[in-house]
Amino acid sequence: MSDIDRLFTQLRAENRKAFMPFITAGDPDLEFSASVIRELAARGCSMCEVGIPYSDPIADGPVIQASYTRALDKKIKLAQILEMLAGLKDVSMPRVTMVSYAIIYRHGLERYVAGTKAAGVAGAIVPDLLVEEADELAEICRREDFSLIQLVTPTTPRDRAVRIAESSTGFLYYVSVTGITGERTKLPPSLIENVGWLRQQTDLPICIGFGVSQPEHVKLLAPVCDGLIVGSAIVRRIAEAADRPRAAVLKEVGEYAANLLAALEARPD
């Protein structure tokens, strides 16, 4: 059981849902990333997705792209990110990395998994690794008890979605929209039905991400899933840290997370 399995076992026992913010490691710098992770944990977030900056992220919209570019402009390396994460071992909120396979491959599959695990990371989301290319990494993750979270999207045929659910560990990431990351005001009407269908095919926790940013989204989606992932809305707020007092930005990010968490907890059951 990885930390993620334990998290969902506990949340389910309490009939609660997970709230998972995404941040870009090293934007605006690693020290601030560490503070944000602590703040999010203190606000009661369930898990944090830590984005490893990548030069060519094709699944990302302008907000996350720009955050990756800022981090890379500062020459932030994976080794430094892992050092920062290793300094957070007293934080019980699990962390997973969101990372391109280009980076994992370059570092070596074994080395990446062992290295991030040693830094207290519980799993990886690899948005450009399809289920048919994932065997080797999946095997290493299984051995290391490290979750390899796979993604299902609105364009995934249903038989394929089942296959992805069978090979995913930790949870299943349901991408809400056909598109790239970024805040959306409206989510596709078929979303609820699709996740509902998927719910019947697997016991794996299902979390919804891409586009989620408002309390209304949270209220709408919470009943059909096990958790929600919020990325660009958080990253956009953090981006403002560059020219404002950091304490104020930290508070704002924390309050934004708390606001969505409240919407999540308030759902009628």
């Binding site: 030069s55 094709i58 994976l78 609105p154 045929p157 979605a161 598109g179």
Partner: protein, 428 residues
């Protein structure tokens, strides 16, 4: 997510039956029977893209297989290549250039004489027909030198498809005449400001567009790069270059060439030229990458010469990456070669030793350009000038009885202003 009835086919399983599988890459054993069902050329290729694109890629694979075996599709494409593009393109004996070099006979495969002035049209017409077959309503493309953008805009105008072309803003500057042509042809050109503002960033932006538009849009990729099945499809559509060259050589000199040379950006003109010769072991094949200013990182665009295998733009192939897996900035005088990656089949050919790869510096390419202009009255594209320059060097070392064919992938009108600018800069 699709309901079972909307699922076009059980593509994934079907694919395994269609193709034969290949064994891992071994030296000296390049096969023409690649890629396998997973899109692997030996160890290279594959598909490293977000799940969102999988269904469209599967659909494209299936539709392409069908088209390949559909005589009506082939007939329509052949007719277009003949009457619209002007194929077959001539194989021209460059006698004065050969004399100048004092060695082997240099022949030019005149892709510069195609409609729109480069080899790119061979691929865009094929993919435009696939777009129509798949019932897609819109086309997107990336472009570096602008030749692929123009060729895509042309094919889209010919078939009445709306077309958006992504182009790095540095390339918009370097290749201004092509930007103007694309607009005249009715395409929308979207300058890309991210990263190095060149071909690589244009591909990123096109992929991002496709992530949102994939249900009704086809991405006409411009080279043998990207996720499976693109490297295979583009190679196949470009292979008309090598097939014609083979026939023309047999007809004109009664045998196959001794040496075939082509420039390698993403690698489509080279792949199209080389592929029909892969199993003719006596024909030597040489690919020329952009050597830029020097062999220092950042100064060139030669992943096969100086890079290592890694992942970029959906496939596993040689790439210029730093030790952290970040793609490096690269440099070439020519926008069409200014790319940190290369098509996976070239990596396979390198690994098997079937094709030799070397590179040509910016200044050498300029000399090749001048030589062809002065000796033969032909202005080559800066991309093709790399191949010309190296072919001249190689020809000089060989006997007069040998035949060297160079793929003259495009004409140089688009580069005239940039060359004038560089010459003024060099002389001041």
């Amino acid at each position: 997510m699709l309901k079972p009835t909307e699922n076009p086919t059980n593509c994934f399983l079907a694919l395994f039956e269609v193709h034969m599988s290949t064994s891992p890459t071994k030296a000296g054993e390049a096969s023409a029977n690649v890629p396998d069902a997973a899109g692997r050329f030996g160890d290279f290729g594959g598909r490293y893209v977000p799940e969102t694109l999988t269904r469209a890629l599967d659909e494209l694979t299936v539709e392409y297989e069908k088209a390949k075996h559909d005589p009506a599709f082939q007939a329509e494409l052949d007719e277009l290549l003949h009457n619209y593009v002007g194929r077959p393109s001539p194989l021209y004996h460059a006698r004065r250039l050969s004399e100048e070099c004092g060695g082997a006979q240099i022949w030019l495969k005149r892709e510069d004489l195609n409609h729109t002035g480069a080899h790119k049209i061979n691929n865009t017409l094929g993919q435009a027909l696939l777009t129509l077959r798949m019932g897609k309503k819109r086309v997107i493309a990336e472009t570096g030198a602008g030749q692929h953008g123009v060729a895509t805009a042309t094919a889209c105008a010919r078939f009445g498809l709306p077309c958006v072309v992504y182009m790095g803003s540095e390339d918009v500057r370097r290749q201004a005449p092509n930007v103007f042509s694309m607009k005249l042809l009715g395409a929308e050109v979207r300058p890309v400001e991210s990263g190095s503002r060149t071909l690589r960033d244009a591909i990123n932006e096109a992929m991002r567009d496709w992530m949102s538009s994939v249900e009704d849009t086809h991405y006409i990729i411009g080279s043998v790069v990207g996720p499976h099945p693109f490297p295979m499809i583009v190679r196949d559509f470009q292979s008309v270059i090598g097939r014609e060259t083979r026939e023309q050589s047999l007809e004109r000199i009664g045998r196959l060439p001794d040496l075939v040379v082509a420039c390698v950006g993403g690698g489509s003109n080279a792949a199209g030229m080389f592929y029909p010769f892969i199993e003719d072991r006596e024909v030597e094949l040489i690919g020329i990458e952009a050597g830029g200013r020097s062999s220092q990182p950042g100064d060139h665009a030669s992943p096969l010469s100086f890079g290592e295998p890694g992942i970029l733009h959906g496939s596993y192939s040689y790439v210029m990456q730093d030790e952290d897996g970040q793609t490096c900035d690269v440099h070439s005088i020519s926008a069409g070669l200014d790319y940190p990656g290369v098509g996976p089949e070239h990596s396979y050919w390198k690994a098997t030793g079937r094709v030799q790869y070397t590179n040509c510096r910016d200044d050498e390419a300029m000399k090749g350009f001048d030589a062809l202009a002065r000796c033969e009255g032909i202005l080559p594209a800066l991309e093709s000038s790399h191949a010309i320059s190296k072919a001249m060097e190689l020809a000089a070392q060989r006997s007069k009885a040998e035949m060297v064919v160079v793929c003259l992938s495009g004409r140089g009108d688009k580069d005239a202003n940039e060359i004038a600018r560089l010459k003024v800069k060099a002389s001041s």
